[in-house]
């Protein structure tokens, strides 16, 4: 009933039409999507320090108000760029424009001996005169990437708050890392001990109480979400340890 020629033409036309529809949709919607992603990033940064505005439309204003400085450091702990009040005090790139995924990849390359220089962001918020450092983190969950922000007090040790997000963790299990009960456990824990030796925060399966992990440096894992919980542990350890040289040079 249908000739081969018809079938081939039909398939070709269909594929072209679909390609045109999809690519024009993607192109048209891209500016809006990028704006949403930017607001989402700001929302995570602000939320970790409990500074997130109630209204989404206030996000940009609050961000500019509360995040007073953006620093960029290298792996030696030197500050290579400082951005303050809309202009550069030092260097020429904003922490906000850094894609942590790329920098972590570079870090990996560097450890393998390649000649690259990864850069890591620090956001500095001011709340009631207190300085808060906000460090974005990123790692692997069970099904896909997980990420988050850790807000630290002026001593760079004590956690003020955290946020975590994920691409595709299991709802009800691993996805619980994105909810308050899990995140609030981190408040008041410390990522360095008194002598500023790096301890990170361990997410402990079976609960901190029943383990030999110091409760100052541990939180309870999610039951049924072991791999995601371990992912959070190693994400914190890997990314926060990058800031060790910085802490030695500028904090202690």
């Amino acid at each position: 009933m249908f000739s081969n020629k018809y079938i081939f033409t039909y398939a070709a036309v269909m594929v072209t039409v679909v390609a045109v529809i999809l690519s024009s949709a993607a192109t048209l919607l891209q500016p809006l999507q990028e704006k949403n992603e930017k607001i989402e990033k700001m929302s995570g940064i602000l939320a970790s320090a409990e500074l997130k505005p109630a209204e989404k439309s206030e996000m940009l204003k609050t961000y500019n108000e509360k995040i007073v400085e953006e620093w960029v450091i290298n792996t030696d702990g030197e500050i290579v760029s400082k951005y303050k009040d809309g202009e550069f005090v030092k260097g020429d790139f904003r922490a906000f424009d850094i894609k942590l995924e790329d920098e972590l990849h570079k870090l990996d390359q560097m450890e393998k001996g390649k000649d690259v220089e990864p850069h890591f962001p620090i956001y500095i918020a001011k709340n009631d005169g207190e300085r808060i450092f906000i460090i974005p983190v990123r790692g692997k969950g069970l099904w896909g990437p997980i990420w988050g922000n850790v807000a630290l007090k002026n001593d760079f040790r004590t956690i003020v708050g955290t946020t975590f997000g994920h691409k595709s963790e299991t709802p009800g299990l691993g996805a619980e890392i994105a909810n308050k009960p899990f995140q609030n456990q981190f408040i008041g824990k410390t990522i360095f001990n008194e002598d500023y030796e790096f301890t990170s925060i361990e997410v402990v399966k079976g609960g901190v109480e029943n383990s030999n992990v110091d409760p100052k440096h541990g939180v309870d894992a999610i039951s049924g979400g072991t791999i995601t919980s371990n992912g959070v542990s190693s994400m914190l350890k890997e990314v926060l340890s990058v800031y060790k040289p910085f802490v030695k040079k500028h904090i202690i």
């Binding site: 009933m1 249908f2 079938i7 039909y10 398939a11 594929v15 949709a25 999507q33 299990l173």
Partner: protein
């Protein structure tokens, strides 16, 4: 085609039936036992269940109509590929639009995009109905089946979130006093097997009420 529709009222008894039978007697999940995979995967919480149900309604309503419009031009030998292309592009389109205008919903949905494409109910209806019926009945059939699928999803999500997390749509509903008195959330309810058990219970109740569904032997 338009003339035919003029003669037959839009919501004639026949068309209403297209919408209502998939909710009960021809339910895709409980009677035809299709789409079980996604019913297990997304129902640990109520919110993703609702989002999934709505997205499937959108994809299936539009998809079945598109397939029905194309039905006389589609070469039978590549019809499955054509159906897949329609589903896949619709899902991507829905995802892109949501990302631009309803970012929060899209964050919920992103996990399930793949699952919508693989949902066998959609291709089943395209093949069984859209390919051989007019656009309007196809649209109703798509919506009806998606709703039949959706309400089961929402029912399962409701029970699982209530028993498993003590919350509904993220809000705590089981009072703290219960926990203080020793009540514990049922950990099994958030694991996939519980979805099968609940679907099984729904099938049981449905067959008890509607004896005609019981197979003879």
């Amino acid at each position: 085609m338009a003339a035919d529709n003029m003669k037959e009222p839009l919501f004639s008894a026949k068309n209403r039936k297209l919408l209502s039978t998939p909710l009960g007697r021809e339910n895709p999940i409980t009677v035809q036992v299709l789409g079980i995979c996604s019913a297990l995967a997304v129902t640990a919480k109520l919110e993703p269940s609702v989002v999934m149900a709505l997205s499937v309604v959108a994809v299936m309503g539009i998809g079945n109509t598109v397939i029905s419009l194309l039905r006389n031009t589609v070469p039978p030998r590549i019809r499955i590929i054509v159906q897949l292309t329609v589903i896949a592009s619709l899902v991507i389109l829905v995802d892109q639009v949501l990302k631009a205008i309803a970012y929060d919903v899209s964050k919920q949905l992103s996990v399930f995009v793949g699952l919508i494409i693989t949902n066998c109910i959609i291709m089943g209806r395209f093949e069984a109905f859209g390919m051989s019926n007019k656009p309007w009945p196809s649209f109703l059939d798509g919506i009806g089946n998606a709703m039949g699928y959706g309400w089961i999803l929402i029912a399962v999500g409701f029970v699982r979130e209530l028993l498993g997390s003590g919350t509904l749509y993220g809000f705590q509903v089981i009072p703290q006093a219960f926990y203080d008195a020793g009540y514990v959330d049922n950990g099994m309810a958030i694991l996939p097997p519980m979805a099968l058990i609940i679907v099984g219970a729904i099938i049981w109740i449905q067959r008890y009420k509607d004896r005609e569904l019981i197979e003879e032997n």
